[in-house]
Symmetry: C2
Subunit: 140 residues, 2 copies
Amino acid sequence: MDTLDIGEVIRHSGLPASTLRYYEEKGLIRPTGRRGLRRLYHPDVLQRLALIALGRTAGFSLDDIAGMFGPDGQPQIDRQQLLARADELERTIRRLSALRDGLQHAAHCPAPNHMACPTFRKLLQTAGTAPRHPRQPGKP
Amino acid sequence: MDTLDIGEVIRHSGLPASTLRYYEEKGLIRPTGRRGLRRLYHPDVLQRLALIALGRTAGFSLDDIAGMFGPDGQPQIDRQQLLARADELERTIRRLSALRDGLQHAAHCPAPNHMACPTFRKLLQTAGTAPRHPRQPGKP
DNA sequence: CTGCAAATTCAAGTCGACTTGAGGTCAAGC
DNA sequence: GCTTGACCTCAAGTCGACTTGAATTTGCAG
């Protein structure tokens, strides 16, 4: 049988049913049918969910991601959009790297308190302007 | 005069008054007094705000950050905590780097659609497990 | 003294991505 | 045939970090 029960999707993807239903409501995924009430999915849904996860990680919103699938369901991701996001990612990475260095320095710095450390203070200067970028909510 | 009017804090920090009040309510900052209704701040508040911004960028919540100031107002940031955060940052950076590479590849990949590209598919494999990490809300 | 821009308070609203809860349905195993 | 547990629906709630709005108060320029 070439369909997955929602239970299997849950097991394979690690996502809770509520999330799958939410994604469906958002138009991100679509069950191929039902067995009774139970949703049935095409196995491809797993790849699609992975793609969604990837997009979220890259900083796209669910709505952004929904826009990346053509009406046929094939991903039609605009290359410009990808590059733009890669650029933004690059900038984020730079800032986070600086930050990581700063944190490590602060953790080892012998100054009595962090404000007495020139490196730390310098970090404060440059960290003022933060880029705004969506998040990833936890699954507490 | 060694105090800043809230208006000056706004100009120097770029934060709106509502945010300053919110931070105050959270115990993150404290005005030194008032002129009429208007809050007055010690110039140090700017550094403190920078520190808060830094902490947010590093992924700390406002509550976390509030806990990093001793009762005297001096930052007392636990070094273990800093190192832990630096580690987490390091992991995040790695993932984002891989992602950036993947996005760039996808943007240039000649495959008819992204799913036909092996590199992209490989990216999907590894991006499944995302670390959970707070966000930064925008200011639109 | 008057006017007004800039502050103030307080409660309530927003946003995205989900989760939770109450009450209902049903396929499969005994 | 009956139970059971996994699923269902739908509305409402949550979380963090702010923002917004209405009604008020002020400091200061003219």
